[in-house]
Protein backbone atom coordinates (compact mmCIF):
# COMPACT_ATOMS: atom_id res chain seq x y z
CA UNK A 1 0.00 0.00 0.00
CA UNK A 2 1.46 3.33 -1.00
CA UNK A 3 1.66 6.35 1.30
CA UNK A 4 -1.23 8.09 -0.46
CA UNK A 5 -3.42 5.07 -0.23
CA UNK A 6 -2.70 4.76 3.47
CA UNK A 7 -3.43 8.44 3.91
CA UNK A 8 -6.76 8.18 2.20
CA UNK A 9 -7.70 5.28 4.46
CA UNK A 10 -6.86 7.30 7.57
CA UNK A 11 -9.29 6.76 10.43
CA UNK A 12 -11.87 9.52 10.67
CA UNK A 13 -11.27 9.72 14.39
CA UNK A 14 -7.84 11.21 13.81
CA UNK A 15 -9.52 14.07 11.96
CA UNK A 16 -12.15 14.49 14.68
CA UNK A 17 -9.46 14.68 17.33
CA UNK A 18 -7.45 17.18 15.32
CA UNK A 19 -10.52 19.41 15.02
CA UNK A 20 -11.23 19.27 18.74
CA UNK A 21 -7.63 19.89 19.70
CA UNK A 22 -7.13 22.95 17.53
CA UNK A 23 -10.45 24.52 18.53
CA UNK A 24 -9.82 23.99 22.24
CA UNK A 25 -6.29 25.30 21.76
CA UNK A 26 -7.55 28.49 20.14
CA UNK A 27 -10.18 29.02 22.82
CA UNK A 28 -7.69 28.71 25.68
CA UNK A 29 -4.79 30.54 24.02
CA UNK A 30 -6.38 32.98 21.57
CA UNK A 31 -4.09 34.58 19.00
CA UNK A 32 -6.16 37.73 18.64
CA UNK A 33 -6.14 37.97 14.86
CA UNK A 34 -7.51 41.37 13.86
CA UNK A 35 -11.18 41.35 12.87
CA UNK A 36 -12.12 43.66 10.00
CA UNK A 37 -15.43 45.44 10.34
CA UNK A 38 -17.56 44.94 7.26
CA UNK A 39 -20.08 47.26 5.66
CA UNK A 40 -23.15 45.42 6.91
CA UNK A 41 -22.08 45.62 10.55
CA UNK A 42 -21.49 49.34 10.06
CA UNK A 43 -24.93 49.69 8.49
CA UNK A 44 -26.48 47.85 11.41
CA UNK A 45 -24.67 50.11 13.83
CA UNK A 46 -26.01 53.20 12.09
CA UNK A 47 -29.54 51.78 11.95
CA UNK A 48 -29.72 51.06 15.65
CA UNK A 49 -27.70 54.03 16.79
CA UNK A 50 -30.39 56.23 15.21
CA UNK A 51 -32.95 55.06 17.76
CA UNK A 52 -34.30 57.81 19.92
CA UNK A 53 -35.93 57.67 23.31
CA UNK A 54 -39.15 55.67 23.14
CA UNK A 55 -38.56 54.07 19.73
CA UNK A 56 -39.45 50.40 19.69
CA UNK A 57 -37.39 47.54 18.26
CA UNK A 58 -39.15 44.24 17.61
CA UNK A 59 -36.91 41.18 17.65
CA UNK A 60 -38.13 37.81 16.42
CA UNK A 61 -36.08 34.97 17.92
CA UNK A 62 -36.61 32.38 15.22
CA UNK A 63 -33.84 30.03 16.29
CA UNK A 64 -32.82 27.53 18.91
CA UNK A 65 -29.71 26.90 20.96
CA UNK A 66 -28.01 25.41 17.89
CA UNK A 67 -28.35 28.72 16.03
CA UNK A 68 -27.48 30.79 19.06
CA UNK A 69 -23.69 30.89 18.68
CA UNK A 70 -24.14 32.32 15.22
CA UNK A 71 -26.95 34.77 15.93
CA UNK A 72 -27.23 35.71 19.60
CA UNK A 73 -24.20 38.03 19.71
CA UNK A 74 -25.45 40.09 16.76
CA UNK A 75 -28.90 40.48 18.25
CA UNK A 76 -27.62 41.33 21.69
CA UNK A 77 -25.37 44.01 20.22
CA UNK A 78 -28.32 45.54 18.35
CA UNK A 79 -30.47 45.49 21.50
CA UNK A 80 -27.63 47.06 23.47
CA UNK A 81 -27.43 49.99 21.06
CA UNK A 82 -31.19 50.54 21.12
CA UNK A 83 -31.44 50.41 24.91
CA UNK A 84 -28.41 52.68 25.31
CA UNK A 85 -30.24 55.37 23.34
CA UNK A 86 -33.36 55.03 25.47
CA UNK A 87 -35.21 52.86 22.96
CA UNK A 88 -37.38 49.91 23.91
CA UNK A 89 -37.34 46.27 22.83
CA UNK A 90 -40.16 43.77 22.37
CA UNK A 91 -39.43 40.19 21.37
CA UNK A 92 -41.42 37.37 19.89
CA UNK A 93 -40.51 33.89 18.63
CA UNK A 94 -41.70 31.70 15.80
CA UNK A 95 -39.73 28.76 17.22
CA UNK A 96 -40.74 27.28 20.58
CA UNK A 97 -37.17 27.43 21.87
CA UNK A 98 -36.70 31.00 20.69
CA UNK A 99 -38.54 32.41 23.70
CA UNK A 100 -35.80 31.08 25.96
CA UNK A 101 -33.12 32.69 23.80
CA UNK A 102 -34.98 35.97 24.24
CA UNK A 103 -34.95 35.48 28.00
CA UNK A 104 -31.19 34.98 27.95
CA UNK A 105 -30.75 38.17 25.95
CA UNK A 106 -32.99 40.25 28.21
CA UNK A 107 -31.26 38.91 31.31
CA UNK A 108 -27.95 40.06 29.92
CA UNK A 109 -29.38 43.48 29.02
CA UNK A 110 -30.76 43.90 32.54
CA UNK A 111 -27.32 43.19 33.96
CA UNK A 112 -25.83 45.85 31.71
CA UNK A 113 -28.62 48.39 32.21
CA UNK A 114 -30.07 47.77 35.69
CA UNK A 115 -32.65 50.57 35.35
CA UNK A 116 -34.68 48.65 32.73
CA UNK A 117 -38.23 47.81 33.78
CA UNK A 118 -40.01 44.82 32.26
CA UNK A 119 -43.21 45.81 30.49
CA UNK A 120 -42.02 49.42 30.21
CA UNK A 121 -38.64 49.15 28.51
CA UNK A 122 -38.76 45.60 27.26
CA UNK A 123 -41.08 42.63 27.02
CA UNK A 124 -40.81 39.02 25.89
CA UNK A 125 -44.00 37.96 24.12
CA UNK A 126 -42.79 34.37 23.89
CA UNK A 127 -43.41 31.67 21.33
CA UNK A 128 -46.58 31.99 19.24
CA UNK A 129 -47.73 29.42 16.69
CA UNK A 130 -48.74 30.05 13.10
CA UNK A 131 -45.45 31.03 11.45
CA UNK A 132 -46.21 33.43 8.61
CA UNK A 133 -49.81 33.82 9.74
CA UNK A 134 -48.58 35.13 13.08
CA UNK A 135 -46.70 37.86 11.20
CA UNK A 136 -49.75 38.65 9.08
CA UNK A 137 -51.96 38.85 12.16
CA UNK A 138 -49.42 40.92 14.08
CA UNK A 139 -49.54 43.50 11.27
CA UNK A 140 -53.20 43.91 12.16
CA UNK A 141 -53.16 43.47 15.93
CA UNK A 142 -50.22 42.30 17.97
CA UNK A 143 -52.27 41.52 21.06
CA UNK A 144 -54.61 39.28 19.11
CA UNK A 145 -51.70 37.54 17.40
CA UNK A 146 -50.29 36.80 20.86
CA UNK A 147 -53.61 35.55 22.31
CA UNK A 148 -53.41 38.39 24.86
CA UNK A 149 -50.50 37.00 26.87
CA UNK A 150 -46.75 37.42 27.13
CA UNK A 151 -44.19 34.67 27.69
CA UNK A 152 -45.05 34.45 31.38
CA UNK A 153 -48.77 34.16 30.70
CA UNK A 154 -49.57 37.69 31.92
CA UNK A 155 -52.26 39.77 30.30
CA UNK A 156 -50.70 42.04 27.70
CA UNK A 157 -53.03 45.00 28.15
CA UNK A 158 -51.44 45.83 31.52
CA UNK A 159 -48.04 46.67 29.97
CA UNK A 160 -47.40 50.30 28.98
CA UNK A 161 -45.06 49.26 26.16
CA UNK A 162 -47.93 47.53 24.36
CA UNK A 163 -49.89 50.80 24.16
CA UNK A 164 -47.27 52.09 21.74
CA UNK A 165 -46.99 48.81 19.83
CA UNK A 166 -50.53 48.08 18.72
CA UNK A 167 -49.38 46.43 15.49
CA UNK A 168 -45.99 45.47 14.13
CA UNK A 169 -46.18 48.58 11.97
CA UNK A 170 -45.52 50.67 15.10
CA UNK A 171 -42.07 49.16 15.57
CA UNK A 172 -39.30 51.34 14.20
CA UNK A 173 -37.26 48.34 13.09
CA UNK A 174 -37.85 44.60 13.02
CA UNK A 175 -34.98 42.12 13.38
CA UNK A 176 -35.46 38.51 12.39
CA UNK A 177 -33.03 36.06 13.96
CA UNK A 178 -33.01 33.46 11.20
CA UNK A 179 -31.80 29.89 11.53
CA UNK A 180 -34.27 28.11 9.23
CA UNK A 181 -37.95 28.06 8.52
CA UNK A 182 -40.02 29.80 9.83
CA UNK A 183 -37.67 32.75 9.65
CA UNK A 184 -36.55 35.20 7.00
CA UNK A 185 -38.41 33.24 4.31
CA UNK A 186 -41.63 34.22 6.13
CA UNK A 187 -40.67 37.73 7.23
CA UNK A 188 -39.53 38.84 3.76
CA UNK A 189 -42.89 38.36 2.00
CA UNK A 190 -45.22 39.04 4.92
CA UNK A 191 -43.49 42.04 6.50
CA UNK A 192 -40.59 43.40 4.47
CA UNK A 193 -41.95 43.32 0.92
CA UNK A 194 -45.55 43.98 1.88
CA UNK A 195 -44.95 46.77 4.36
CA UNK A 196 -41.47 47.81 5.50
CA UNK A 197 -39.65 48.41 2.22
CA UNK A 198 -42.48 50.38 0.50
CA UNK A 199 -42.64 52.53 3.64
CA UNK A 200 -38.88 53.12 3.74
CA UNK A 201 -38.37 51.20 6.94
CA UNK A 202 -35.31 49.03 7.41
CA UNK A 203 -35.66 45.28 7.81
CA UNK A 204 -32.76 43.58 9.53
CA UNK A 205 -31.91 39.89 9.44
CA UNK A 206 -29.32 38.31 11.71
CA UNK A 207 -28.84 34.79 10.43
CA UNK A 208 -26.74 31.73 10.93
CA UNK A 209 -24.24 31.48 8.12
CA UNK A 210 -25.95 28.50 6.47
CA UNK A 211 -28.66 30.88 5.31
CA UNK A 212 -26.34 33.40 3.66
CA UNK A 213 -26.59 32.08 0.12
CA UNK A 214 -30.35 31.59 0.23
CA UNK A 215 -30.92 35.12 1.49
CA UNK A 216 -28.46 36.74 -0.92
CA UNK A 217 -30.99 37.66 -3.66
CA UNK A 218 -33.15 39.49 -1.13
CA UNK A 219 -30.20 41.51 0.13
CA UNK A 220 -29.27 42.66 -3.37
CA UNK A 221 -32.88 43.56 -4.17
CA UNK A 222 -33.17 45.56 -0.96
CA UNK A 223 -35.90 43.42 0.56
CA UNK A 224 -33.48 42.80 3.41
CA UNK A 225 -31.88 46.11 4.31
CA UNK A 226 -29.20 44.98 6.72
CA UNK A 227 -27.89 41.43 6.84
CA UNK A 228 -25.74 40.16 9.70
CA UNK A 229 -24.08 36.93 8.63
CA UNK A 230 -23.26 34.43 11.33
CA UNK A 231 -20.76 34.65 14.17
CA UNK A 232 -18.56 36.84 12.01
CA UNK A 233 -21.10 39.66 12.08
CA UNK A 234 -21.60 38.94 15.77
CA UNK A 235 -17.90 39.54 16.42
CA UNK A 236 -17.97 42.73 14.35
CA UNK A 237 -21.02 43.99 16.24
CA UNK A 238 -19.40 43.18 19.58
CA UNK A 239 -16.37 45.25 18.55
CA UNK A 240 -18.54 48.13 17.33
CA UNK A 241 -20.52 48.24 20.57
CA UNK A 242 -17.27 47.86 22.52
CA UNK A 243 -18.48 44.87 24.45
CA UNK A 244 -16.32 41.89 23.56
CA UNK A 245 -18.02 38.58 24.14
CA UNK A 246 -18.18 35.00 22.98
CA UNK A 247 -18.26 35.85 19.28
CA UNK A 248 -14.97 37.77 19.33
CA UNK A 249 -13.31 35.16 21.51
CA UNK A 250 -14.47 32.41 19.18
CA UNK A 251 -13.15 33.88 15.95
CA UNK A 252 -9.63 32.49 16.38
CA UNK A 253 -11.02 29.00 16.85
CA UNK A 254 -13.05 29.59 13.69
CA UNK A 255 -9.93 30.65 11.79
CA UNK A 256 -8.04 27.54 12.86
CA UNK A 257 -10.90 25.18 12.09
CA UNK A 258 -11.22 26.73 8.63
CA UNK A 259 -7.51 26.23 8.06
CA UNK A 260 -7.89 22.59 9.05
CA UNK A 261 -10.75 22.13 6.60
CA UNK A 262 -8.65 23.77 3.89
CA UNK A 263 -5.60 21.61 4.60
CA UNK A 264 -7.75 18.49 4.52
CA UNK A 265 -9.24 19.54 1.18
CA UNK A 266 -5.76 19.91 -0.27
CA UNK A 267 -4.53 16.61 1.21
CA UNK A 268 -7.62 14.80 -0.01
CA UNK A 269 -7.21 16.12 -3.53
CA UNK A 270 -3.47 15.46 -3.68
CA UNK A 271 -3.93 11.89 -2.53
CA UNK A 272 -6.77 11.48 -5.03
CA UNK A 273 -4.63 12.59 -7.93
CA UNK A 274 -1.55 10.69 -6.78
CA UNK A 275 -3.54 7.48 -6.46
CA UNK A 276 -5.02 8.05 -9.88
CA UNK A 277 -1.51 8.44 -11.30
CA UNK A 278 -0.30 5.32 -9.55
CA UNK A 279 -3.17 3.23 -10.83
CA UNK A 280 -2.51 4.50 -14.34
CA UNK A 281 1.15 3.45 -14.08
CA UNK A 282 0.09 -0.04 -13.19
Amino acid sequence: MSFWEKLSKMDNRIIYTALLVIMIWALIWPMGLPIQIGTSAKAAYETFDSFESGDILYVSFDYDSAGATDIQSSIEACMRLVLKNGGRVVSGALWPIGAQQANYAFKKMQEEYPHLVEGVDFLNLGYKPGGQMYIEKAMDSLIEACANVDNEGRNLSQFPIMKDLVTLKDAKVVICGNHGSPGASEWVPMYATAYAIPNNKPFVVAASAVNATINAPFIQSGQITVYLNGIRAGAEMELLTEKKGTAVSGMDAQSLSHILVFVLMILGNVSYFMQKRESRKQ
Partner: protein, 259 residues
Protein backbone atom coordinates in the same frame (compact mmCIF):
# COMPACT_ATOMS: atom_id res chain seq x y z
CA UNK B 1 -61.19 52.21 -4.46
CA UNK B 2 -57.87 50.42 -4.82
CA UNK B 3 -58.35 46.79 -5.81
CA UNK B 4 -55.40 44.47 -5.27
CA UNK B 5 -53.24 47.43 -4.42
CA UNK B 6 -49.68 46.59 -5.36
CA UNK B 7 -50.76 43.11 -6.36
CA UNK B 8 -52.81 43.58 -9.51
CA UNK B 9 -50.06 42.44 -11.88
CA UNK B 10 -49.16 39.62 -9.52
CA UNK B 11 -52.72 38.35 -9.72
CA UNK B 12 -52.97 38.76 -13.50
CA UNK B 13 -49.69 36.90 -14.00
CA UNK B 14 -51.00 33.99 -11.99
CA UNK B 15 -54.32 33.98 -13.79
CA UNK B 16 -52.38 33.61 -17.03
CA UNK B 17 -50.37 30.75 -15.50
CA UNK B 18 -53.60 29.11 -14.37
CA UNK B 19 -55.12 29.49 -17.82
CA UNK B 20 -52.01 27.98 -19.41
CA UNK B 21 -52.11 24.95 -17.13
CA UNK B 22 -55.80 24.53 -17.78
CA UNK B 23 -55.47 24.83 -21.56
CA UNK B 24 -52.50 22.48 -21.76
CA UNK B 25 -54.29 19.91 -19.69
CA UNK B 26 -57.32 20.04 -21.97
CA UNK B 27 -55.06 19.66 -24.96
CA UNK B 28 -53.31 16.68 -23.48
CA UNK B 29 -56.53 15.01 -22.40
CA UNK B 30 -58.05 15.43 -25.85
CA UNK B 31 -55.13 13.40 -27.16
CA UNK B 32 -52.91 16.11 -28.56
CA UNK B 33 -49.26 15.71 -27.83
CA UNK B 34 -47.49 17.96 -25.41
CA UNK B 35 -43.99 19.23 -26.08
CA UNK B 36 -41.57 16.47 -25.24
CA UNK B 37 -39.70 16.69 -21.98
CA UNK B 38 -36.01 16.12 -22.47
CA UNK B 39 -34.52 13.12 -20.75
CA UNK B 40 -32.13 14.12 -18.01
CA UNK B 41 -28.71 12.55 -17.60
CA UNK B 42 -29.55 11.87 -13.98
CA UNK B 43 -32.19 9.36 -15.00
CA UNK B 44 -29.63 7.29 -16.90
CA UNK B 45 -27.55 7.41 -13.75
CA UNK B 46 -30.42 5.83 -11.82
CA UNK B 47 -30.51 2.94 -14.30
CA UNK B 48 -26.76 2.61 -14.10
CA UNK B 49 -26.79 2.56 -10.30
CA UNK B 50 -29.48 -0.11 -10.08
CA UNK B 51 -27.67 -2.10 -12.77
CA UNK B 52 -24.45 -2.00 -10.76
CA UNK B 53 -26.28 -3.16 -7.64
CA UNK B 54 -27.78 -6.02 -9.64
CA UNK B 55 -24.37 -7.09 -10.91
CA UNK B 56 -22.88 -7.02 -7.45
CA UNK B 57 -25.86 -8.69 -5.86
CA UNK B 58 -26.14 -5.97 -3.25
CA UNK B 59 -29.15 -3.83 -2.32
CA UNK B 60 -30.28 -0.44 -3.60
CA UNK B 61 -31.39 2.08 -1.01
CA UNK B 62 -33.94 4.82 -1.64
CA UNK B 63 -34.58 7.71 0.72
CA UNK B 64 -36.71 10.82 0.33
CA UNK B 65 -35.62 13.06 3.16
CA UNK B 66 -37.63 14.82 5.79
CA UNK B 67 -40.32 16.52 3.71
CA UNK B 68 -43.97 15.87 4.47
CA UNK B 69 -46.79 15.18 2.04
CA UNK B 70 -47.23 18.92 1.54
CA UNK B 71 -43.73 19.23 0.08
CA UNK B 72 -43.48 19.30 -3.70
CA UNK B 73 -40.16 17.50 -3.40
CA UNK B 74 -41.74 14.56 -1.64
CA UNK B 75 -44.38 14.33 -4.36
CA UNK B 76 -41.68 14.38 -7.04
CA UNK B 77 -39.75 11.69 -5.18
CA UNK B 78 -42.69 9.31 -5.43
CA UNK B 79 -42.33 9.07 -9.22
CA UNK B 80 -38.66 8.27 -8.85
CA UNK B 81 -39.45 5.69 -6.17
CA UNK B 82 -41.96 4.00 -8.42
CA UNK B 83 -39.43 3.89 -11.24
CA UNK B 84 -36.74 2.48 -8.95
CA UNK B 85 -39.12 -0.08 -7.49
CA UNK B 86 -40.10 -1.31 -10.93
CA UNK B 87 -36.47 -1.55 -12.05
CA UNK B 88 -35.50 -3.43 -8.89
CA UNK B 89 -38.44 -5.77 -9.22
CA UNK B 90 -37.60 -6.45 -12.84
CA UNK B 91 -33.96 -7.31 -12.16
CA UNK B 92 -34.61 -9.00 -8.81
CA UNK B 93 -32.44 -6.50 -7.01
CA UNK B 94 -33.16 -5.97 -3.33
CA UNK B 95 -34.71 -2.56 -2.72
CA UNK B 96 -34.68 -0.84 0.66
CA UNK B 97 -36.87 2.25 0.77
CA UNK B 98 -36.50 4.23 3.98
CA UNK B 99 -38.74 6.90 5.40
CA UNK B 100 -38.52 8.97 8.51
CA UNK B 101 -41.74 10.91 8.13
CA UNK B 102 -44.72 9.12 9.59
CA UNK B 103 -47.22 10.47 7.05
CA UNK B 104 -45.05 9.66 4.03
CA UNK B 105 -44.25 6.08 5.00
CA UNK B 106 -47.64 4.48 4.12
CA UNK B 107 -47.66 6.20 0.72
CA UNK B 108 -44.21 4.83 -0.07
CA UNK B 109 -45.26 1.38 1.00
CA UNK B 110 -48.30 1.48 -1.27
CA UNK B 111 -46.21 2.64 -4.23
CA UNK B 112 -43.57 -0.06 -3.85
CA UNK B 113 -46.03 -2.87 -3.21
CA UNK B 114 -48.13 -1.93 -6.22
CA UNK B 115 -45.07 -1.76 -8.45
CA UNK B 116 -43.95 -5.24 -7.41
CA UNK B 117 -47.44 -6.67 -7.84
CA UNK B 118 -47.92 -5.09 -11.26
CA UNK B 119 -44.77 -6.77 -12.51
CA UNK B 120 -45.87 -10.09 -11.06
CA UNK B 121 -43.06 -10.06 -8.53
CA UNK B 122 -45.23 -10.07 -5.45
CA UNK B 123 -43.05 -12.82 -3.98
CA UNK B 124 -39.96 -10.64 -3.95
CA UNK B 125 -41.79 -7.95 -2.00
CA UNK B 126 -40.91 -8.27 1.64
CA UNK B 127 -43.53 -6.42 3.71
CA UNK B 128 -41.11 -5.93 6.63
CA UNK B 129 -37.81 -5.08 5.01
CA UNK B 130 -38.54 -3.45 1.69
CA UNK B 131 -40.08 -0.23 2.96
CA UNK B 132 -38.90 0.74 6.41
CA UNK B 133 -39.80 3.47 8.84
CA UNK B 134 -36.44 3.92 10.51
CA UNK B 135 -36.85 6.71 13.05
CA UNK B 136 -38.33 10.14 13.54
CA UNK B 137 -36.46 13.41 13.81
CA UNK B 138 -33.39 14.07 11.72
CA UNK B 139 -30.75 13.25 14.33
CA UNK B 140 -32.09 9.79 15.10
CA UNK B 141 -32.97 9.07 11.50
CA UNK B 142 -29.59 10.15 10.14
CA UNK B 143 -27.78 7.73 12.40
CA UNK B 144 -30.31 4.98 11.71
CA UNK B 145 -29.91 5.55 7.98
CA UNK B 146 -26.11 5.43 8.28
CA UNK B 147 -26.39 2.17 10.19
CA UNK B 148 -28.75 0.64 7.62
CA UNK B 149 -26.45 1.59 4.75
CA UNK B 150 -23.41 0.06 6.45
CA UNK B 151 -25.11 -3.12 7.63
CA UNK B 152 -26.75 -3.86 4.30
CA UNK B 153 -23.64 -2.83 2.32
CA UNK B 154 -25.72 -1.02 -0.26
CA UNK B 155 -24.30 -0.68 -3.76
CA UNK B 156 -26.63 2.02 -5.04
CA UNK B 157 -28.03 5.01 -3.17
CA UNK B 158 -30.89 7.13 -4.46
CA UNK B 159 -31.50 10.15 -2.25
CA UNK B 160 -34.37 12.14 -3.67
CA UNK B 161 -36.27 14.67 -1.63
CA UNK B 162 -36.14 17.46 0.89
CA UNK B 163 -32.84 16.81 2.69
CA UNK B 164 -31.35 18.90 5.43
CA UNK B 165 -28.28 18.62 7.61
CA UNK B 166 -28.25 14.82 7.42
CA UNK B 167 -26.96 14.99 3.84
CA UNK B 168 -23.33 15.31 4.91
CA UNK B 169 -23.61 12.28 7.12
CA UNK B 170 -25.30 9.88 4.71
CA UNK B 171 -23.61 10.75 1.42
CA UNK B 172 -20.22 10.31 3.05
CA UNK B 173 -21.14 6.82 4.19
CA UNK B 174 -22.31 6.01 0.68
CA UNK B 175 -19.07 7.29 -0.80
CA UNK B 176 -17.04 5.21 1.67
CA UNK B 177 -19.01 2.12 0.71
CA UNK B 178 -18.15 2.76 -2.91
CA UNK B 179 -21.81 2.90 -3.84
CA UNK B 180 -23.08 4.69 -6.92
CA UNK B 181 -25.05 7.60 -5.55
CA UNK B 182 -27.69 9.61 -7.38
CA UNK B 183 -29.26 12.46 -5.49
CA UNK B 184 -31.83 15.14 -6.10
CA UNK B 185 -32.99 18.01 -3.93
CA UNK B 186 -34.18 21.57 -4.15
CA UNK B 187 -32.61 22.51 -0.81
CA UNK B 188 -29.74 24.61 -2.12
CA UNK B 189 -27.71 24.60 1.08
CA UNK B 190 -27.34 20.82 0.83
CA UNK B 191 -26.51 20.69 -2.86
CA UNK B 192 -22.74 21.20 -2.46
CA UNK B 193 -22.50 18.05 -0.36
CA UNK B 194 -24.52 16.04 -2.82
CA UNK B 195 -22.64 17.33 -5.84
CA UNK B 196 -19.28 16.57 -4.28
CA UNK B 197 -19.99 13.08 -3.05
CA UNK B 198 -22.64 11.73 -5.44
CA UNK B 199 -22.09 10.48 -8.96
CA UNK B 200 -25.00 12.47 -10.23
CA UNK B 201 -27.12 15.17 -8.68
CA UNK B 202 -30.44 16.50 -9.89
CA UNK B 203 -30.38 20.18 -9.03
CA UNK B 204 -33.52 21.97 -7.88
CA UNK B 205 -36.08 22.05 -10.66
CA UNK B 206 -34.26 19.29 -12.50
CA UNK B 207 -35.48 17.06 -9.73
CA UNK B 208 -39.11 18.07 -10.29
CA UNK B 209 -38.62 17.55 -14.01
CA UNK B 210 -37.28 14.06 -13.40
CA UNK B 211 -40.36 13.32 -11.32
CA UNK B 212 -42.63 14.56 -14.11
CA UNK B 213 -40.69 12.67 -16.76
CA UNK B 214 -41.02 9.39 -14.93
CA UNK B 215 -44.59 10.02 -13.84
CA UNK B 216 -47.57 8.57 -15.63
CA UNK B 217 -49.65 11.50 -14.45
CA UNK B 218 -50.18 14.11 -17.18
CA UNK B 219 -50.82 16.87 -14.61
CA UNK B 220 -47.16 16.76 -13.60
CA UNK B 221 -46.05 17.00 -17.24
CA UNK B 222 -48.47 19.82 -18.04
CA UNK B 223 -47.22 21.65 -15.00
CA UNK B 224 -43.65 21.41 -16.18
CA UNK B 225 -44.46 22.66 -19.67
CA UNK B 226 -46.50 25.57 -18.29
CA UNK B 227 -43.60 26.53 -16.03
CA UNK B 228 -41.28 26.47 -19.05
CA UNK B 229 -43.52 28.99 -20.77
CA UNK B 230 -43.54 31.11 -17.63
CA UNK B 231 -39.74 31.01 -17.44
CA UNK B 232 -39.43 31.94 -21.12
CA UNK B 233 -41.63 34.98 -20.51
CA UNK B 234 -39.56 35.83 -17.45
CA UNK B 235 -36.39 35.73 -19.53
CA UNK B 236 -37.94 38.09 -22.08
CA UNK B 237 -39.19 40.51 -19.41
CA UNK B 238 -35.77 40.59 -17.74
CA UNK B 239 -34.05 41.26 -21.09
CA UNK B 240 -36.46 44.11 -21.86
CA UNK B 241 -36.04 45.50 -18.35
CA UNK B 242 -32.27 45.33 -18.46
CA UNK B 243 -32.17 46.95 -21.92
CA UNK B 244 -34.51 49.71 -20.75
CA UNK B 245 -32.31 50.28 -17.72
CA UNK B 246 -29.24 50.41 -19.93
CA UNK B 247 -30.51 52.69 -22.68
CA UNK B 248 -33.28 54.55 -20.95
CA UNK B 249 -35.29 54.15 -17.82
CA UNK B 250 -36.74 50.93 -16.47
CA UNK B 251 -38.73 52.55 -13.69
CA UNK B 252 -41.99 52.54 -15.70
CA UNK B 253 -41.77 48.80 -16.25
CA UNK B 254 -40.83 48.36 -12.59
CA UNK B 255 -43.78 50.40 -11.41
CA UNK B 256 -46.06 48.56 -13.79
CA UNK B 257 -45.02 45.17 -12.42
CA UNK B 258 -45.51 46.45 -8.89
CA UNK B 259 -48.85 48.03 -9.70
Amino acid sequence: MPIFEGQLITMIAQLILAATIFALLRRSRSGERLPKIRRLAGLDAIDEAIGRATEMGRPTIFGNGSGGLNSAQTIASFSVLEYAARSCARYDTQLIAVSYVASVYPVMEAIVRTSYLELGKGDSYDPVNTVRFIASGWGASASALQGTMRRERVAACLFMGSYYAETTMITEVGANLGAIQVAGTANTAQLPFMISSCDYTLIGEEFYAAGAYLSKDDVQKVNLVALDYAKAITVIVIIIGALLATFGDASHLKNFLNY
